[in-house]
């Protein structure tokens, strides 16, 4: 890998990972907003409107950052990966303007209506705008996942003798078999994160003794949703998304699991350190036969190890392995936390169990980390391919952009994003400090 290829990869990885922190929150919170707006319309209880207004204020800050950090990514396909854009633009590119046109407009348009429209439009229209925000953010996510799924498992194209590819079926690209469960797993992850954020803010207020009703509503919603979503994150969405990998990308599976030799009745490594020099997993703790069962539903099935494949087709094993284990390990801990929370809620002790409220409050960064780790598995595990089996990563870069230029702008992004990250913390911190009692942002400013 040349210096320039590495620089392009680092730039894309950094900008996309920073960007994704915000869509996790907006895709997750969007659905909770729609839920709260619906509860308000249905029951007419003011507390749901108060909660919806509070979370909208967080949503808006996150949404603004998601928008501004998302635009660079669309540019980077052309600026950094121009040979990839030339090669596959007519195919994976089908998804990008659709994201812009349908989903993005739904979302960015309705958020304006939802924010500014209260009182100016009919309350049913206002509620529909809330649903539109949630629906738009999900649709937006789908188009992006479908574009990514095409890079994981390219479908719906024909290739001529020169190697050039052409779109053969738009619908096959849109409904790529890889995309369905990948999308479900991605959205489930975002919703789970939002549930943790709800619970964390509720826990913070409870610990401080502030906004008692709002805190309890948030804790209750966060813990119940968190338990359900924690379980669905694992099964069926995680399991089925994993089956995609088993079917279409067996090398990625071997790297994720740190499996070097072909094995009948392969064990699942809970911990361990892959040593790619010697081709072994150091200090492993295994669950016997479990990997064969998870991959194929059969404890005796044979799973191919990395050594069955030439080394130049291996993804970076360590990164893929650790990212995968971080994701799964955190996912397991999330279920444990939420089970505990649900138990306490059942016994009526949740609101006063200070030790547990501390856990909930401090748990909030980890769902973000788990989401990012999951995407690292997906994308690093896809290497050395840019488009699986079709185009290698080093063949997709812009030849007319030098490594130094990319390094320079990456440093620029790092500085700008550091500032944006601080701004995000400052502003969400301020919203949380002001609390839900403030009727809305307008009143806060009028003071």
């Amino acid at each position: 890998m040349t210096e320039a290829v590495f620089a392009h990869r680092v730039q894309f990885a950094f900008t996309v990972m920073f960007h994704y922190l915000f869509p996790i929150l907006t895709m997750g919170l969007g659905s909770f907003l729609a839920l709260l707006a619906t509860l308000h319309l249905w029951t007419g209880q003011e507390r749901y409107a108060v909660a919806a207004r509070f979370w909208t204020r967080i949503f808006v800050v996150s949404f603004a950052l998601g928008v501004v950090t998302g635009i660079p990514l669309e540019f980077e396909f052309g600026t950094n990966w121009s040979r990839f854009a030339s090669f596959g633009g007519g195919i994976f590119g089908q998804m990008l303007p659709l994201e812009g046109v349908y989903a993005f407009f739904l979302e960015s348009g309705f958020i304006g209506l939802f924010l500014f429209g209260a009182g100016r439009v009919h309350r049913v229209i206002h509620w529909l705008a809330g649903l539109g925000v949630a629906f738009g953010s999900l649709l937006s996510g789908y188009f992006i996942v479908a574009a990514d799924a095409w890079m994981q498992h390219p479908v719906g194209f024909t290739q001529d003798a020169s190697g050039a590819i052409q779109l053969q079926s738009f619908w096959k690209v849109l409904f790529n078999p890889y995309a369905g469960w990948q999308f479900a797993h991605t959205i489930n992850g975002a919703l789970l994160t939002a549930a943790f954020v709800l619970a964390a803010v509720g826990a913070f207020y409870s610990l401080m003794g502030w906004h008692r009703d709002f805190a309890r509503l948030s804790l209750r919603m966060g813990v119940i949703a968190g338990l359900v979503l924690g379980l669905t994150q694992l099964f069926p969405t995680g399991d089925m998304d994993g089956r995609n990998v088993v079917h279409y990308q067996p090398i990625k599976l071997a790297a994720m699991e740190g499996l070097f030799e072909n094995q009948k009745g392969a064990p699942l490594a809970i911990v361990g350190m892959p040593d790619t020099q010697r081709g072994i997993l150091l200090d492993p703790i295994y669950v016997p036969h479990m990997l064969s069962f998870l991959a194929y539903g059969d404890f005796a099935a044979t799973v191919d190890g990395l050594n069955s494949y030439p080394r130049d087709l291996w993804p970076p094993v360590e990164l893929t392995y650790y990212a995968y284990h971080v994701m799964v390990g955190l996912g397991t801990i999330f279920i444990a936390i939420m089970l505990l929370g649900a138990g306490l809620l059942w016994r009526g002790r949740l609101y006063n169990a200070r030790w547990f409220l501390w856990i909930l409050m401090l748990a909030v960064p980890f769902p973000f980390i788990a989401n990012e780790a999951g995407w690292m598995v997906t994308e690093i595990g896809r290497q050395p391919w840019l488009v699986y089996g079709l185009m290698r990563t080093e063949a997709g870069t812009s030849l007319n952009v030098a490594a130094g230029e990319t390094v320079f702008t990456t440093l620029g992004f790092a500085g700008i994003y550091l500032m944006l990250g601080l701004l995000f913390l400052l502003l969400t911190g301020k919203v949380i400090a002001e609390g839900p009692a403030t009727p809305d942002a307008t009143a806060a400013e009028a003071s």
Binding site: F77, I91, P97, G100, F105, G109, G112, T409, G412
Partner: protein, 333 residues
Amino acid sequence: MNIAWFWLLSGMLTAYAILDGYDLGVGMLHLWVARSNPERRTCLAAIGPVWNGNEVWLIAAGGMLVVSFPRVYAAGFSGFYLALMLVLWLLIARGVAIEFRGQIVHPLWHTFWDVSFALASLLLAFLLGVALGNVLRGLPVAADGNFQGTFALLLNPYALLTGMLSVVVLAWHGANYLRAKTEGDVQGRARRTAARLGWAVLVLVALVTLVTALGGYADHFMQRPLAWLFPLATLLALGMGLRSGSGDITAFRASSLLILGLMGSAAATVFPALLRSTVDARFSLTVYNAASSPYALRTSFIANVVGMLGVALYSFYVHRTFRGKVRGGEGHY
């Protein structure tokens, strides 16, 4: 289909220039036309509900360029690498400035974001004009369809001139928008500013037209009778906008029409090329040699046109919902 795509993209960019153009114009002018915090908030409230939806026309156009003319997208974006990164950073600064200004109530916080907003808007308008100028003038596209856009190359005198034109036109457009959307002192200052800017627009439009014609950039244009509708629209718009005593809304319509005329003229000037090569005309990336397959063009055209009709309807609805004058204290700015 290739030609239809060309005009769809031109239409998208024109819509972007008209819609986000007034946001940029408001950004450039608000330090002058709005002096106090309530006045500045009025300016922001005038664009608050719509700026985000307006910017999406640019993003959607970018996405459409990928799918319709991937080679143009690839060559143009990689060739303009550093310049585009600058545009990205400015778009970030502009968006953040609008959204985060009102989050904390403090004069220093406000001043910081007001100046960021103004500078980012000014530079964006300028750079977008420079980019358009370079597309008109042609770029050193080599046989492999790529070029390397150094700053010295991009900042040539012609592009600097179109950059200035862009700044002045969008500032005028923004002033006209504020005339239509505000009242009182802000409106009065916007009127006076617009009157002065109108004449600057006239001078620059004449100058750019002259240089474009003399530079031989418009040779294709001269042979297309239909294309003359665009300069005609420009003339009409100038007449409408500069006539003293014309109403505020008429003035805004005039500057919108002016942008339509200018963008249409630019598109008719370069057609059928999207990136003209200054090295050899055969290397130019045109709607024929840079396009996706016919099937890809057809499906994405249908999908996007249907979507854009919805978007246009929606945009109309939002503009109607928030029509009329804005008053201080609205929104969260």
